[in-house]
């Protein structure tokens, strides 16, 4: 597999070397594997009920009082923060993203392709370290997904009994 910039800051570290097979790869193509690809109606398909691939349309979410209040709070918070620690920001960010790049939201971090590639080389392929980071980064989606998996396993078991 040829390389292509793989932005990764704070996300799922891609396995060094790129090729197919790493967990990072799978996460990035999950919706393609499940939602696209050839569909053959003459065959039976495993149940995908309960698996939500992508969160609903951003516009729908944006137009709610909750969202407005959340944005107002974010604006207030950022204003206070920037008042306090604007001068040393850049150093902070670089330090942070090296130490805890995989650990969560990178606040305004420099996450262009160049950094991303460095990250993914550094990231190594250590499953044990990747897992918690992945989970933390996308909790809602992952949990829903896991529930979905369990449900679909049950369902396919039932299908077989029938």
């Amino acid at each position: 597999m040829t390389v292509v910039p793989q932005g990764n800051s704070g996300g799922v570290p891609a396995p060094a070397g790129g090729g197919g097979g790493g967990s990072g790869t799978l996460y990035d193509v999950l919706e393609l594997v499940l939602d696209r690809g050839l569909v053959i109606d003459a065959f039976v398909r495993i149940s995908l009920v309960g698996i939500e691939l992508v969160k609903i349309d951003a516009r729908v979410v944006v137009a709610s009082v909750d969202t407005y209040l959340r944005f107002a709070e974010a604006a207030n918070r950022l204003d206070l923060e920037s008042g306090r620690k604007a001068p040393s920001q850049l150093t902070d960010i670089v330090g942070d993203s090296v130490e805890s790049g995989a650990r969560g939201k990178s606040k305004g971090a420099l996450s262009g392709a160049v950094e991303a590639i460095t990250e993914s080389f550094k990231g190594g392929g250590d499953e044990a370290e990747e897992e918690p980071a992945e989970r933390e980064r996308r909790p809602a989606r992952e949990k829903r997904q896991e529930r979905g998996e369990r449900r679909s396993e049950r369902r396919s078991a039932r299908d077989r009994e029938e």
């Binding site: 499940l34 495993i46 992508v54 349309d57």
Partner: protein
């Protein structure tokens, strides 16, 4: 015995599956079902086939392997045929349709592009550039202002953020589109301001990768572009 179906190829595909393995535990042995001028790659379907990492990864690995050696139509995950005879029936019945698709996809691959916008960065930018937002923000700091002020601030910021996301998405698509043969753009979602797949000729793959990298570098802070490819053409079958 029911069989799990991975992909359809022409019979000219080398079908050298190497050490690739199928779904299930222990991983299923891959084999080929031939019908008319087409082949299907299949394995025995495990009793506990599930939408979990083990089987998804195996499905994806088989596709990558096949695509690296020739053109193939990747099936979506999870298709099971009653037996090999049923697979052969489909290959023969739809031979013309599938052969045509395979021809159209020869020498091309899918590239998937996702963009993530750091929310704090974009909210900060809105506050810097929009005087009304700044004024409302000042008024509501530390519990000040009314509920309506906070709502107005939030609404304004949300709209501005949405506007910036849309503009960025359009810019990314416009920057990459000229290098591609087809595109499939996913509807807007909370995680990604843009999520699109492109069909790219192999000759232009490198150029496409560079264009993506240049875009990512241009945006720098707070904008992350994830590009993945070349991939089997899931979105263009």
């Amino acid at each position: 015995m029911s069989v799990y179906v991975y992909a359809i190829t022409k019979d000219s595909h080398p079908l050298d599956l190497g050490d690739a393995k199928g779904v299930g535990d222990p991983p299923g042995e891959l084999r080929t079902v031939r019908g008319a001028s087409l082949c299907a790659v299949v394995s025995d379907c495990p009793d506990d086939l599930s939408v979990a990492r083990r089987d998804l990864q195996a499905h994806q690995d088989v596709q990558e392997r096949l695509w690296s050696e020739g053109t193939a139509l990747p099936l979506s995950f999870g298709f099971v045929a009653a037996d090999e005879e049923a697979v052969r029936g489909v290959l023969e019945e739809r031979a013309q349709l599938y052969a045509q698709r395979l021809d159209e996809l020869a020498g091309r691959s899918e590239f998937n592009v996702k963009g993530v916008l750091d929310e704090d960065t974009v909210v900060r930018a809105v506050l810097e550039e929009n005087t009304q937002a700044r004024e409302l923000n000042r008024r509501t700091l530390e519990g000040g202002g009314t509920y309506d002020d906070r709502l107005a601030l939030g609404q304004l910021v949300a709209q501005e953020v949405q506007g910036r996301q849309d503009a960025l998405a359009e810019e990314v698509l416009a920057g990459l589109r000229p290098l591609t043969e087809a595109e499939k753009v996913a509807p807007p979602s909370q995680q990604y301001f843009v999520s699109a797949s492109f069909l790219v000729e192999d000759d232009r793959a490198e150029e496409f990768g560079r264009a993506g990298q240049e875009l990512a570098e241009r945006y720098g802070e707070g904008v992350e572009l994830r590009m993945r490819g070349p991939l089997p053409p899931y979105s263009f079958v």
